[in-house]
């Protein structure tokens, strides 16, 4: 078992994951067969818009889908080759914070306002490591220094820190037990650009220092270009395009990904008109038949409204789920932006 785990090439492998939120009236299908894999030591960017299922994917890995109304309907999540979905809550507690940690978007609400930073940092260390109080405190101080906060501020409360510093504290807590995988859910969205640059830099350095793997959940393609090795574009609960940075940024194939790029203001020519994607994402409680993007797609054909497209590979890693490439050769550069 041990040997098999260490031999696995992937830190994380999600196969065909389906998650739904059920109420009496309706069922929202947040994830509909999500495939995701992160090679050890690499950073994968999971990009998509509000409601695409990005956060649900992160919470599924953490075993934090609120049940009810949430339910993992099918699929598998392998963390370093080990199946997570069969774990009991008791077993999961040994995994969270130790093998996989998650950073949330809003640092203001992810810290406990009535506990000092020391309390919150030592809690995770005490839970997972058998250390004396003094050793715990020492480790907590080291973690703070690592994320760029003076250790003597450890006795302060969250409200005494700025937004950027709070997010650093959250990062320190997440990394205290050197997890194999860090899930960062829009970690810098609530921060100003200059502070965002500082926090991203810290995360990159720590990731390399601990040779961790990272899942970077974001809506910002700029951040992806900055910190990730590969990208998965998620739409209505499924990955519609996946590849290395170069594949997705320079050989974009899926009409949705192309649309995302075209929606961004051009930084070289400010008079260039924005080309938004028309319409809205489908309601997860009422997903259309066939390709979920068809309604907004300029290239949609009859087949797109009938059958959900299978993966079509452009190279060993880069794939798209789009019927366009059944008739067009996927190598053709005519689809380039």
């Amino acid at each position: 078992m041990m040997r098999e785990r260490s031999q696995s090439k992937y830190a994380l492998e999600i196969r065909d994951l389906a998650v739904e939120y059920r109420t009496i009236e309706w069922t929202a299908r947040a994830l509909n067969g999500l495939d995701l894999s992160i090679e050890k030591g690499k950073t994968l960017g999971l990009v998509g818009e509000t409601g695409a299922g990005k956060t649900t994917a992160g919470l599924s890995i953490m075993g934090l889908i609120p049940n009810p109304p949430g339910r993992i309907a099918s699929g598998s999540i392998l963390l370093e080759g080990e199946e997570l979905l069969t774990k009991t809550e008791r077993e999961y507690r040994k995994i969270r914070g130790k093998k996989v940690s998650m950073i949330f978007q809003d640092p203001m609400s992810s810290l406990n306002p009535v506990l000092t930073i020391e309390d919150q940092l030592t809690e995770v260390i005490e839970t997972h490591e058998h250390l004396s109080n003094r050793e715990c405190r020492k480790k907590a101080e080291q973690m703070l220094e690592l994320v760029g906060i003076p250790a003597d501020r450890i006795t302060e409360y969250p409200h005494q820190f700025s937004g950027g510093m709070k997010q650093r504290v959250v990062i320190a807590i997440a990394l205290a037990c050197t997890p194999a995988l860090l899930i960062a859910d829009e970690p810098t969205t609530a921060l100003d650009v200059t502070i965002q640059a500082q926090v991203l830099e810290t995360m990159k350095n720590l990731k390399n220092m601990y040779s961790m793997s990272m899942l970077m959940i974001t809506h910002d393609l700029g951040i992806v270009a900055d910190v990730c090795d590969s990208v998965s574009v998620i739409y209505a609960g499924r990955v519609v395009e996946h590849g290395s940075l170069e594949d997705v940024f320079d050989h974009t194939r899926h009409p949705y990904t192309i649309g995302l790029f075209n929606s961004l203001p051009n930084m070289k020519d400010r008079t260039m008109k924005l080309k938004p994607i028309k319409g809205l994402m489908p309601d997860p409680g009422n997903l259309p038949r066939g390709c979920t993007f068809a309604e907004r797609c300029d290239y949609a054909q009859g087949m797109c409204r009938e059958v959900y497209p299978e993966k079509i590979y452009r190279n060993k890693e880069h794939y798209v789920r789009c019927h366009l490439y059944l008739s067009k050769t996927i190598e053709s550069e005519m689809w380039n932006r």
């Binding site: 640059a197 393609l221 051009n266 930084m267």
Partner: protein
């Protein structure tokens, strides 16, 4: 005042009293905007950009300064006069979720200002105008009687725009109008705002923290730091030749969605210092890589350079 200038702000100042002292939210801010043009105001949270926007149309009462609009100083008007004037001065807010009354239908929300200002006294006519406004901003007429909670963020922001347009304004303050929206929706709303600007000859003050959006949208850009404008220039000029060390660091901090021509990142140290009693110094000095003794002795003033470029920094001489 230049005949093409619609609004001219001179030495606008707003301090807030706090326990620790005076908070300099807006400190002697001056600028003018030409008819039909857009001035973008960028800066980080707490730099005073929203307070500036609100103080101009007196949603917050400024302490001192002048705001010349159409030959009148808005700050000299009494409550009744400014209320009447507000038909020409409108605002679009950041959060389309909290800027709409949840108990009013879309049509009621759009109609309300016209009713309050008695702009279109006839009810039938007013309703027709609401329907036309809905067409203008791309809201389907079937949504006439729906409530805000039934709609997504993009559509709600369209309501906010329709409501502002219902007054036939000349000047619109847009306070982060797209920052709560997804990129694909953001592009739809930005295009819509550009279209109505061209159709109706609107003048915008566009407040945002997003540098790529402000570049795309504005004719001129003013960069604010702790209550002051530290640099101002036409958009292309500012992006091609940023002068102030803060502006340069800000531009370098934008994550670029491309894997080519990556910039060498210079990461700015520190965070915004306190806006309470900042004193007569350069407010950026504590984070600046080029700081020298003069910066901590006196405050730099905005100085005009070539190409309509103005900057407040001692690094640039020729005063």
């Amino acid at each position: 005042m230049n005949t093409n200038t619609l609004i001219e702000v001179r030495d606008l100042t707003k301090y807030f009293k706090t326990k620790k002292g005076m908070l300099h939210a807006v400190d002697h801010v001056s600028f003018s905007i030409g008819k039909g043009k857009t001035l973008g105001v960028v800066g980080e949270s707490g730099c005073g950009k929203s307070t500036t926007g609100r103080a101009i149309i007196r949603l917050i009462e400024p302490d001192s300064g002048e705001v010349w609009f159409d030959g009148v100083d808005l700050l000299s008007l009494n409550q009744e006069e400014i209320r009447k004037k507000r038909t020409e001065l409108q605002m679009i807010f950041q959060d389309p979720f909290s800027s709409l009354n949840p108990r009013k239908t879309i049509s009621e929300t759009i109609e309300e200002p016209m009713r309050l200002h008695n702009l279109v006294p006839d009810k039938k006519e007013r309703q027709l105008k609401v329907a036309r406004l809905m067409d203008t901003v791309g809201l389907a007429r079937r949504l006439y009687n729906t409530y805000p909670h039934e709609l997504d963020g993009g559509r709600r922001q369209r309501i906010g725009i329709a409501r502002a347009l219902s007054m036939n304004p000349k000047f619109v303050v847009c306070d982060e109008p797209v920052s709560a929206l997804d990129v694909s929706i953001q592009a739809q709303i930005l295009n819509l705002m550009k279209e109505v600007q061209e159709q109706l000859g609107l003048t915008y003050l566009f407040i945002t923290h997003d540098l790529s959006v402000v570049y795309h949208f504005s004719d001129d850009i003013a960069v604010m730091y702790l209550g002051q404008i530290i640099e101002k220039a036409p958009s292309d000029e500012l992006f091609a030749r940023p002068m102030h060390p803060y502006t340069r660091a800000l531009l370098l901090a934008i994550p670029v969605p491309s894997i080519h021509d990556r910039k060498e990142r210079v990461i700015m140290k520190g965070e915004l210092s306190s806006p309470i009693n900042p004193g007569q110094v350069c407010r950026f000095a504590s984070r600046c890589a080029y700081v020298f003794d003069r910066c901590t002795r006196e405050a730099p003033l905005l100085q005009a350079k070539d190409n309509n470029h103005e900057v407040a920094c001692f690094l640039y001489k020729g005063e």
